[in-house]
């Protein structure tokens, strides 16, 4: 079946692909043309970057970019460190309570912080962290998903390598750093891509805990900017939309295979 493809099917496949790209193509069209052409498609329409300039000047998008970059970096670094330590404990130590502890970790796969917004808001308020970037990051720093993925990877590390490192005098943390971490590199890449994509795009929780330009990530900034009350031009809003998704989109186009494989690994758990 892989070899033969009916021409009708090929046409259908391409048609579906074009339909699938249409919304995106439309966004780029509208962002790159004067407002008058936002709804009328004409090949003679002049191209312009004016909409981007106006969006950039009408809202603090530079600050939003910075906030998002700080946010995803903070989350990623925190997740990598915490997941590595926890996964190491689960993969290579036999200890009392490990079964229950692991089950309690897995609980977060089903009941994610995304649905615990009410109580997490109270917790963040009690900590006095409302309207800060760490407030957005905190509930996500311990990732059950990261622990789970790394534990699986660590378990496949050959025991001989561990013994060799021990003979050379490495302690538990030395073994983790010199043997396990280097061998788990593909897992780190996969987890990192998924984590960055997820938190670059995350919206509801940041919307709830932030209230100022200093803490807002791009997604929330875009929602505030595009709210109908602001009366901003449609073309300018689309330009802002394109700016919000551009970094991930460019990364995806450059590392397509990596992205698809990472999302796949992330999903099959």
């Amino acid at each position: 079946m892989r070899g033969r493809t009916h021409p009708v099917e090929a046409v259908a496949a391409w048609l579906l692909a074009l339909i699938w790209l249409a919304p995106l193509a439309y966004a780029f069209w509208s962002a790159l043309h004067p407002a008058a052409y936002a709804t009328s498609f004409s090949l003679s329409a002049p191209w312009t970057l004016e909409n981007f300039a106006r969006a950039w000047n009408q809202a603090p998008f530079a600050r939003y970019y910075l906030n998002t970059v700080v946010l995803v970096t903070l989350i990623l670094v925190g997740q990598l460190i915490l997941s590595t330590l926890a996964a190491y404990a689960f993969a290579r130590f036999r200890f009392k309570g490990s079964g229950i502890a692991f089950a309690l970790v897995l609980l977060q796969l089903m009941i994610m912080p995304d649905v615990l917004i009410v109580e997490n808001y109270r917790a963040i308020a009690r900590l006095g962290l409302l309207d800060t970037i760490p407030a957005i990051a905190l509930p996500y720093l311990a990732s059950a998903f990261g622990i789970f993925l790394l534990r699986q990877t660590f378990k496949s590390v050959p025991q001989e390598l561990v013994e060799a490192a021990r003979v050379e005098g490495a302690g538990p943390l030395g073994i983790l750093w010199r043997v396990y971490v280097p061998l788990a590199r593909p897992t780190y890449v996969a987890f990192g891509l998924v984590s960055v994509s997820y938190h670059w795009n995350n919206f509801l929780w940041p919307l709830i805990v932030t209230n100022s330009v200093e803490a807002r990530p791009l997604t929330v900034g875009l929602a505030v900017f595009g709210a109908p009350e602001t009366g901003v031009d449609w073309s300018v809003i689309t330009a802002a939309t394109v700016m919000t998704m551009a970094p991930l989109l460019i990364a995806f186009l450059l590392f397509q295979r990596q992205f698809v494989q990472s999302f796949m690994r992330a999903g099959i758990r």
């Binding site: 692909a17 919304p23 926890a86 200890f95 917004i117 109270r122 809003i237 999903g267």
Partner: protein, 306 residues
């Protein structure tokens, strides 16, 4: 779980005190993650249940009210509306996006010209922020000026307030979510298809089986584990996906598009009623737990034939 034997040598030969030392070390490694997990997952779950049994007076004191909030919830038509909407939202998005995902995966798996491009086109919506997607689609559905009404205009039809009409709003959101999700589900089918032995299909072809018959009797049953896996994840997603409501409809018109999580958000942060929001969250947690039980207790044992 499979290779516990491999991890034994670290501790097995050692004495009791070393086993104890092992436990201490392991818990020290776990500690940072454990503290945050307890603080932002386990504790909030318990606190949610507790808060659903109390109300907060205006002076800040909490009063135990038992199941009063649950009775109020049972009498709240918006709660039921949200629940029913969640059902239709799931039913509208999941079967269609799974079917599309399967078709896409089969196409992309072929030696078709430009299949790299096809995969790119199908998968791209997955990496976009929901909020950006909502912005783009919001404009498609804009009355008169939006792309949809312009298309209707070509056929001489008048404008229609797609998101402002209770009869069309849910359908519009469903179409958008299908577009966003199908490509994500595709990659799981693609992975599964690449694992299938080509011999099976060749044998079927030699036996003279039609392609539809081959798909229906061989390929599709072999993909069953993937289908169930994708379906479960899709159901979980359908409860979490509410970002678009914030800027597209705010749950309206007349709550026609509200979903449970969005209603929780509204009750907690617009109406400032955190006790009732906790009660609603308990329902959401129960629904997710049921899905978890089905997933871990039943499907995980069933879907792997090998």
């Amino acid at each position: 779980m499979t290779d516990t034997a491999a991890s034994l040598p670290i501790s097995e030969r050692r004495t009791q005190s070393q086993a104890w030392w092992n436990t201490v070390n392991a818990w020290l490694l776990l500690l940072p993650a454990a503290v945050l997990l307890v603080a932002f997952t386990h504790w909030p779950i318990l606190a949610t249940i507790r808060h659903s049994l109390f109300i907060t007076r205006r002076n800040g004191t909490e009063v135990y009210v038992g199941l009063d909030s649950y009775q109020a919830m049972a009498a709240d038509p918006i709660f039921w509306k949200a629940l029913v909407n969640n059902f239709w939202f799931a039913l509208g998005t999941i079967p269609t996006s799974i079917t599309l995902a399967l078709i896409m995966a089969i196409w992309v798996n072929r030696n078709m010209r430009g299949r790299g491009f096809l995969r790119l086109a199908y998968f791209t919506p997955t990496v976009l922020p929901m909020i950006a997607v909502a912005n783009i689609w919001l404009f498609f559905y804009t009355p008169d000026y939006g792309a949809l009404d312009q298309l209707r205009g070509l056929f001489g039809l008048g404008g229609w307030n797609w998101l402002g009409d209770p009869s069309t709003v849910m359908g519009c959101l469903i179409v958008m979510v299908i577009w966003k999700e199908a490509g994500f589900f595709m990659i799981f089918y693609l992975a599964a298809l690449q694992q299938l032995s080509p011999d099976l299909e060749e044998a079927a072809a030699i036996e003279g089986a039609s392609r539809w018959y081959t798909f229906r009797r061989i390929t599709f049953p072999l993909l069953m584990p993937t289908t169930l896996f994708v379906a479960i994840n899709a159901v979980i997603n359908s409860f979490k996906l509410v970002d678009h409501l914030v800027i597209m409809t705010k749950g309206g018109p007349n709550n026609a598009s509200t979903l449970l999580l969005y209603y929780i958000y509204e009750v907690a942060f617009t109406f400032q009623d955190s006790s009732y929001a906790a009660t609603l969250t308990v329902v959401l947690l129960m629904l997710l737990s049921v899905i978890a039980l089905i997933k871990f207790g039943y499907l995980d044992r069933r879907i792997h034939y090998q």
